[in-house]
Symmetry: D2
Subunit: 388 residues, 4 copies
């Protein structure tokens, strides 16, 4: 009897596709996944030539210029979607229809209705789903969850999350699909704040109401970097550069979430501070292997935020290194995600965050848009009953 395998078909080989390719290998060595059970089987990209080149570079056995043929391939168990956001739905629904498990990058869909449709299709088909909110798999973030779950900081009363980057801070960067609602949906909200929403729900409780503000700061951008400044050469930006939310959680806690794609100097500026009745914790993704923890106990003279370097005592770290403080990287978080995917597909372990959990994120994002339209607080629909 042959062992059960996970044969991956990757759709899209850009930035995230490469991160996935690294992570598959990283996961195999770090988590001792047998070489004969995980296969980087096929890679699809826009043209056969590009796909072939990328497959060679990233170590996939076969390639195709047509993602549909990847999906219909009998030797694919999991379809891994790293294509642009607006294609997630079509590819996922096709994969589900073909009985494949689906692993999709976030955001799951451009809006909650699409996400629900995808969730229901997957659940009906009985395939496994996983959405790539990688930051949640960071051992440091897992440790934060552990601290909260066992009550070390008491009951959570406040969450502040910020996700700032500067990838569009230069007003002269050219217009692209990312700036159009049709292809990208919202802007910083979808790209960045979606992570905060997912982290906040996971670390605190469901978000039950919110009030939000969105703003396009750079309203026009040149159609290409070489184009002149004339009116003809300018594209109108359709989605937010900056996004704000005030939220209330199901447990009564308050929160603020904000994101920007034009915040000069912030490169991967995902940070949060969580306050409880007995202590606080602070995380900053730019120093992703440390957590600051304050516990209000003992001699006040020696109280302070403790800078804890993540190590083998913390979840999933030991797979990468036996010594504390040696530092995990961005790609290591993704390897943890792949380990989960493997356990789900091959050993039937529950997968999280699945399409249902990711749909709840899309619902919150839709509520943001609704709040902005109304200039007022709105209630948030609860879809993901299985909140952990």
């Amino acid at each position: 009897m042959t062992k059960k395998q996970m044969r991956v078909g990757l759709v899209g080989s850009g930035y995230m596709g490469k991160a996935h390719a690294i992570a598959y290998r990283n996961a195999m060595a770090a988590f001792a996944i047998p070489q004969d059970q995980l296969h980087c089987e096929m890679l699809a990209d826009a043209t056969p030539e590009l796909a072939k080149t990328k497959a060679l570079e990233l170590g996939f056995n076969r390639s195709t210029g047509d993602w549909k043929s990847l999906i219909s391939d009998a030797d694919i168990d999991v379809v891994d979607i790293c294509a642009p956001n607006f294609l997630h739905k079509e590819i996922a629904l096709a994969a589900i229809a073909a009985g494949k498990h689906v692993y999709s990058e976030k955001p799951l869909a451009l809006n909650a209705d699409d996400a629900k449709e995808m969730t229901e299709a997957a659940e009906k088909a009985g395939v496994k789903t996983l959405v790539g909110f990688n930051y949640i798999k960071n051992p440091t973030v897992q440790f934060a969850k552990q601290l909260i779950a066992r009550g070390d900081i008491g009951e959570v009363v406040h969450f502040r999350g910020v996700f700032n980057e500067d990838y569009l801070a230069d007003a002269n960067l050219p217009f692209s699909w990312r700036l159009q609602k049709e292809f990208a949906g919202t802007g910083a909200l979808n790209d960045l704040a979606s992570h905060l929403v997912q982290l906040a729900i996971h670390l605190v409780a469901p978000i039950t109401s919110l009030c939000a503000d969105l703003k396009i700061v750079h309203q026009h951008r040149p159609l290409s970097q070489t184009s002149d400044d004339s009116k003809a050469g300018v594209g109108e930006v359709e989605n937010d550069d900056q996004a704000h939310m005030m939220v209330r959680f199901a447990n009564g806690a308050q929160g603020t979430l904000e994101a920007s794609r034009i915040a000069w100097g912030r490169k991967n500026g995902l940070s949060f501070e969580i306050t409880g009745t007995k202590g606080s914790l602070i995380f900053d993704q730019e120093t992703l292997s440390e957590l600051s923890l304050y516990i209000a106990e003992g001699n006040p003279q020696t109280q302070g935020f403790k800078r804890i370097l993540v190590g083998p005592e913390h979840p999933d770290y030991q797979a990468f290194c036996v010594s504390a403080g040696h530092g995990l990287g961005f790609n290591d978080m993704k390897a943890v995600e792949i380990r989960d995917l493997f356990q789900g597909v091959v050993n039937n372990a529950p997968l999280w965050p699945d399409f249902r959990a990711a749909t709840q994120v899309n619902i919150v994002l839709d509520s943001v848009v609704e709040s902005v339209d109304k200039r007022a607080w709105v209630e948030v629909e609860q879809y993901d009953g299985d909140h952990r």
Copy 2:
């Protein structure tokens, strides 16, 4: 001909009273204010005995148990109000009526109507006024203002301000006047967020609209630290432990402001990050003598946040020390404020923030309450025409 003098009458000798006493002396030595032009003349406190003891300790020539006699004293030029918030109005109006200049701690009043009444009385009487928003006088913050004013970070597009402390984080701390609307007004909003509002207006632009959220987390507190837990021994907290605002500025920029008095681990956690079209700056009061500055120019390879230690090249630092990086303290900021007060009173220099500017802060705080009631965005009245 005698030189013009500033003879100070201090009302209230608690925490802030002592900080003022230190600052008067600090200012004289640091800014070379002649000994015969600034006099700590009289101190008023609740009883003659207490006032006498405190006057001796803090170096005031005379004392009184009746602040009204201080105000009517002919040898007092400035009334310095360090009494609890709810007394500001009565004392200030009396001082103004007696033709004294008034230097008041913040918040100026419990609400905007009172603040307007005080402003109009002072302006009619032609006395000088100054409100003690000390953080604004920090050389580091002055440097931030300078950077913004000369365009180093371009046009400001975002302000995030947080002012978190933990002085009421312990749920067993006893009930007090600070927790009652009648005596304190709002809670973290008045105590802490008022500073953020004033900084935001000063560093960015007038706040023109906002949406807010307030929350009392610890709803009851023991009536005294020794009281038992029975219902009879519990006071009901009437004002906010946590306060949130999303704001829009007159120049189109967006902002978020938040404050908490129950944020474990934060001791003087006043921080802000200001994003412009060409760069960003970050300040944290817990490291009050440094500013982080990011300028998007030059070789991308060597771009990053610069940690600038405040020194003699920055405003007002040289008065304290000729070498950079030696560090100013909390009380030094107050000394700068006293220097301003002296210049205003003795040399007729314009004083800022005066009652009118402080009233604008009270207006914003009132708008917060209005927004919370409406669960929606509200417009903010513009009272302080002289925005710098």
Copy 3:
């Protein structure tokens, strides 16, 4: 015609062996090394059973309980030595005799004489050698080298290096081979300071003289963790817990280097600060993806240490991620080393640091011992003529 291959035989599958296993895969995906050109071919460990288990876990095709059979295997191109220090010499000489390329973890040997013997054997045999001083391959450290080489901080006048960990800080940790001269050589000096020596030579210039101090702090340790405290159950520690050096470089610069294996709280505390005539730079391995840079130019008001997050503008980062600040991890540094190894073995690129360069490190370490014996400064022999 088949492409040239690199078939690896790994000797030792403990902590570093696993790091290598991860790095081979990581390097293939990150640096687009074709799957058919790099093979994790064979793994040797103490017993056939252990080797088999580990080979499966770490993804090696074959296994053996006898490292000699690995060396004599015709399908091995490179022998990768992750065995304990005292075995490096024997294994390397055997591999060289078999005509294999050798990739050894540091320190190359227990003393300079052994290192020279190994170097001369390898050079005579014409095999490639590489020594695993992984920190040197960190993109952040490569960037530091680049800054120095192009004169951004002027002429280097000072180097301070510290490498502190706490892996033996607990005085009750049991006695082991690491604490015996015969098996480990010196202590913190060999384990930790060796990295500093190599970095200092690389980043500044050859070390020409030094004065040193070594100290055993915990002189006895229990023979095993379960043993009682009786005299019989105690082992005598033979090598240094703390090591200090003052050095002079060939270019006239001064330096201090120190290491400790008992420095509570330091987990991977490798840091250095380099001062030049025009600026300075600071690195700390516990935040391995950032460099602090001070350049003394422009307006003094805006001078400060710049915290630069490593990104695609810096050497070798882009292979891992296209966005700055996303953070590399400990294992990523090792992947860069593997990329170098592959280029050396398959494309005949020069390899560095090779046995000759590593021997120079051993010479400096021997000089430390000589200085301690003499309680005085000593001159350092220059062996590595090819200093870059």
Copy 4:
């Protein structure tokens, strides 16, 4: 009966003179020193005109252009020496001869012999002495001493101290008395490392042996900033830009101390890390109001360096502020020193560090020079029997 008074005569009104002037006033308000017991009585500087101007600025009652007349003045109780180093001895001996208490800035003398002569004169005359090693009075440093004294970090096994500044980093800064042995003694050693020596002795134990290295990096400097580069216009620097020491303490601990006056980017870069058998602590004067503390106890998962913001629970902080984390400044440390001086002079409290303790520092500095000459370790004479 009149209360005992402390009437101060200040000699020298430059940088440190002003810091003292601020501190006298700061101390009076912070520590409730009665106005009628501490008087800034007379100021001496190079000319009567300069002295008069400065006395007015800094708030001294009288002035003189001749420090000898200050010393002979009957209404002076304490002579406060802020004159250049080479004058300390002459002024101090004259003051002692006149029966005055002496408060001198550090270093006490240009060499140990002079320091001994001064100490013995003072002890024979029975006058009080205090030397201005202000950093030692910082509440944060006092807290560090407290932690060590009560055993929180176990037995101290290592001290690393660095004191780097960049005040002479610019090679074009003009030649001055500071660069000449006759007037300044050694360079960075005397100016900066003297503080480290005093801290190390205080926080650990007497220094019993040492080995050192000194280096002049910029060997010539222009005779004045306007002078041309011709040979005639160049002064030869006579004392060290960089100073290193390896030391051994009486309790067996090891240490490294280093200082530089040419370390670009460091403004007040006095830092130390102290390792004990149970924990460690880290201090950096550029963030003078915080201490990092690591204690190796409890759950390893939550161990880390705790960043403790100094507050009212720590020594002498509450005099300045009742709230933690509000931050003390450089001048506040000096105020603590003045409080000590007042207690010593008026209430006959013991004063520390007195001339004898400061002489021990001079002895260590002389041993450094001896070690450099010998290129070897040297033993250090123990003069200060009263080590606390």
